[in-house]
C-alpha cells in the first residue's frame, strides 16, 4: 500500500517537474532577449535604437550639453573591440550617467581598418548632421561583418540608415571633412588604436583614459572620480 502510494506520488511529482520545465521554457521563449541575439549580428536592433530614445543628441555628442563630465571615444566601426564596448559597457554608462545628465559622450570616428570603415564613418558623420549618429553607429556595431570583407556595401548602409531613421545619407564633402578632422585630432593626441578614450570636466582639458578591460566596472570608478571633481 505504501509503495503504491509512493509510486503514485512519484508519478505526480514527475508530472509536476515536466509541467515546471514546460512552463519555464514557454515563459523564457516568450520573454527571452535571445530573440534579438539570433542571428547575433543581424538582429533588427529595434531595442538598440529605442535605448537611445529621449536622450539629447547634437552632432557627435550624446547626452545633455550641460553634463559636467565629457568622455570622448575614438572608434572604427569595423573594430570588434569597439563593438564589444558598445554592447557591454555603453548601455550601463547610458543608464547611469548619460540619461541622468551627468556625462556627455562624444564619438570621433576613424577609418584605419579599411574601406568598409571609411564608408561607414562618412555616413555616420552625415547622420550626426541629423542628430541620429548614435542610432546609426550602434546598429552598425550590432550588424558588424568580418573586417574588410566588403560587407558595408550600399544595400547594407541604406538598410542601416533607414533603420536608424535617417532621412537621407549624404556622405559628401562635408562628411569627408569631419572624418579628416577626427583623424587629425587622433594624430595630435597620439591615438593609435581603437577604442581610445579621453575624459575630463566639460570645457576643461581632457585626459587619456585606458580602461583595464571593456566592462562597466573598468569605467565606473574613473567616471565617478571625474564627477566628484
Amino acid at each position: 500500500m505504501r509503495s503504491v502510494q509512493r509510486s503514485s506520488m512519484l508519478i505526480r511529482l514527475g508530472l509536476l517537474a515536466g509541467l515546471a520545465v514546460i512552463a519555464v521554457l514557454v515563459a523564457v521563449v516568450i520573454a527571452s532577449p535571445a530573440k534579438n541575439d539570433s542571428p547575433p549580428k543581424g538582429g533588427s536592433g529595434a531595442a538598440t535604437v529605442s535605448a537611445l530614445k529621449g536622450i539629447p543628441q547634437s552632432g557627435v555628442t550624446l547626452g545633455s550639453p550641460d553634463a559636467p563630465v565629457t568622455m570622448v571615444e575614438f572608434a572604427d566601426l569595423q573594430c570588434p573591440f569597439c563593438a564589444e564596448y558598445s554592447q557591454n559597457v555603453l548601455p550601463t554608462l547610458i543608464d547611469r550617467y548619460v540619461r541622468t545628465g551627468k556625462v556627455q559622450l562624444q564619438l570621433r570616428l576613424l577609418r584605419f581598418i579599411g574601406p568598409d570603415s571609411d564608408r561607414l564613418a562618412r555616413v555616420a558623420v552625415a547622420a550626426a548632421a541629423q542628430d541620429r549618429m548614435w542610432q546609426f553607429v550602434e546598429l552598425a556595431y550590432l550588424r558588424q561583418g568580418a573586417e574588410n570583407s566588403g560587407y558595408a556595401n550600399d544595400a547594407f548602409i541604406n538598410r542601416l540608415a533607414a533603420d536608424a531613421g535617417l532621412d537621407k545619407t549624404d556622405a559628401g564633402a562635408a562628411a569627408e571633412r569631419e572624418v579628416r578632422q577626427a583623424e587629425q585630432a587622433a594624430r595630435t593626441l597620439g591615438v593609435d588604436s581603437t577604442p581610445s578614450f579621453l575624459i575630463g570636466r566639460t570645457g576643461g582639458p581632457l585626459q587619456r583614459f585606458q580602461p583595464s578591460d571593456l566592462t562597466p566596472g573598468a569605467f565606473v570608478p574613473r567616471i565617478d572620480k571625474e564627477l566628484r571633481g
Partner: protein, 133 residues
C-alpha cells in the same frame, strides 16, 4: 526536512534580495575573482520583460517558504519551477554572456538542493502523516 528547505529558501531569499538591491541601486555586486558579476548583472539576461531576475528570485523563494505550510506537492512544483528557471539562467551565463557570478551559482545550487529535499519530503510525507494519525 522542512527546516532544511526553509533554511535554503531563506539563503536564496537573502541572495536575491541583495542582487535586487544592487540592481536598483546601480552599484556593483561584491564579486569573487573568477566571476564577473557586473557583466552578468548588466546583461540583457538580467531582466525578463523588464523585471530584474533577482526580483523574480525574491518572489520565488518567498513563495517556496510560504508553500511549506501548504500541500507538499506545492513546494515540489515551485522548486521544480525554480530549478528550471535557474537552469535557464545558468545556461545564459555559460553560453550567452560568457561570464558567471558566484551569487547566481549559489542561488542555482540552493534551488537544486531545495528541489531534491522537496521531492524526498513529498515522497515521505503521506507515510509520515499516516503514521502520525
Amino acid at each position: 526536512m522542512t527546516r532544511a528547505i526553509a533554511g535554503l529558501a531563506l539563503l536564496g531569499l537573502a541572495i536575491s534580495a541583495y542582487l535586487t538591491w544592487v540592481h536598483y541601486a546601480g552599484i556593483e555586486p561584491v564579486c569573487s575573482g573568477i566571476s564577473d558579476c557586473e557583466r552578468v548583472q548588466s546583461s540583457d539576461y538580467a531582466e525578463l520583460l523588464g523585471v530584474p531576475v533577482a526580483l523574480i528570485g525574491v518572489v520565488g523563494y518567498a513563495t517556496i517558504l510560504a508553500s511549506l505550510r501548504a500541500r507538499v506537492e506545492m513546494t515540489a512544483l515551485l522548486s521544480y519551477l525554480a530549478v528550471a528557471f535557474s537552469g535557464y539562467l545558468t545556461w545564459a551565463e555559460l553560453f550567452r554572456i560568457d561570464a558567471i557570478c558566484q551569487w547566481c551559482v549559489a542561488s542555482a545550487l540552493a534551488t537544486f538542493v531545495i528541489a531534491v529535499l522537496a521531492t524526498l519530503r513529498a515522497l515521505g510525507a503521506p507515510l509520515h502523516q499516516r503514521a502520525l494519525s
